[in-house]
Symmetry: C3
Subunit: 141 residues, 3 copies
């Protein structure tokens, strides 16, 4: 496992961390399997999504802010909405790895979703091993 840090700037922020994750995955040296991208936080999330048009980022930030149901919250810190979204969206995502490279689709990127910023955030990258049986059965033997 390895980790890196990102300082967010907004209350709700969709931050592209693709290049940082790919560099971490290469440093870990996984050849086939998957990388687990996770945060040890309770008011942030990880997603995989469109990373071509910057308008998608502001569209999604706007939508997340309005996605929380209008119910009374008792938690005194006042950030139950952030806890709700973190838990619902999820604090981790998996990306398949093939031939030593994270296999993202043409338009896919990996994002840190800040839900109660601005803050310093930690992103953990863990390499998971692919099945050796699988490698053999799909090979040229």
């Amino acid at each position: 496992m390895t980790e890196f840090h990102v300082r967010t700037k907004k209350k709700i922020e969709r931050r592209d961390i693709t290049d940082l994750v790919v560099a971490a995955a290469r440093a870990l040296g996984v050849s086939s399997g998957a990388i687990l991208v996770s945060v040890p936080h309770t008011t942030a999330a990880i997603t995989v999504g469109e990373n071509y048009d910057p308008d998608v980022t502001t569209d999604l930030e706007r939508a997340w802010a309005k996605w929380v149901p209008d119910v009374p919250f008792d938690h005194e810190e006042g950030n139950s909405a952030a806890h709700f979204l973190s838990e619902a969206i999820g604090t981790s995502r998996l990306v398949p790895v093939d031939d030593g490279e994270p296999k993202l689709g043409r338009w896919q990127g990996i994002f840190l979703v800040e839900l109660d910023g601005p803050r310093e955030r930690t992103i953990e990258v863990t390499a998971l091993t692919g099945s050796e049986n699988g490698k053999r059965k799909t090979g040229n033997e």
Copy 2:
């Protein structure tokens, strides 16, 4: 890793891909661990859920269509709602594997969630290796 393709027919479509995933998992030959089912797309998702009553499929398709918050979207392609749902629901799911078989619950199936169809979609299946320590400790020694 292996992959297969599905042609969707509707704008929002919950398509059962359980049999195709199970066949792919068997071809990969994983004995214990998990299979990662993922899409390289930004307007589709993968879920695990009820696969007995077809009414659940139409109920969920109807609910997903209304789940996106009513906020202005700037992305000019007009499919920000699909990007939002893809990223929120998630582009992958994991299914545990035991004794060479994906271990789904009695009522569970694996679904491709089309959010901006109809389109040709790719589903990737990656075998992840279970812990050898775990196998030994839970064995008969």
Copy 3:
């Protein structure tokens, strides 16, 4: 893989299962990689989130109950809302493991999310192996 059982008490219930999962992970003996926590059910989910203030639990239970879009449901069992939330939140989560211990953040716990209780629920814990290459490259050589 190993499993344990929990009896829920409410219709919608966020139940802390952190200690049970950590004990299961230790019994499996994984040294590095991740543990997959999953349910074989279609009206329950697994999350990772804040486990310090009990008010967060009641806040989130209240929010989940109101999160389902107001659309007509045809499924005759009447629990389409539970199927919807189970599939959207997700029936599994991954927690990274380092040096033999599940690596949760300071405020993070692992939760069973009951969505159609009260019921007896099964939680499956699967150990996934970390990359050996990664272990070597980040070591002291």
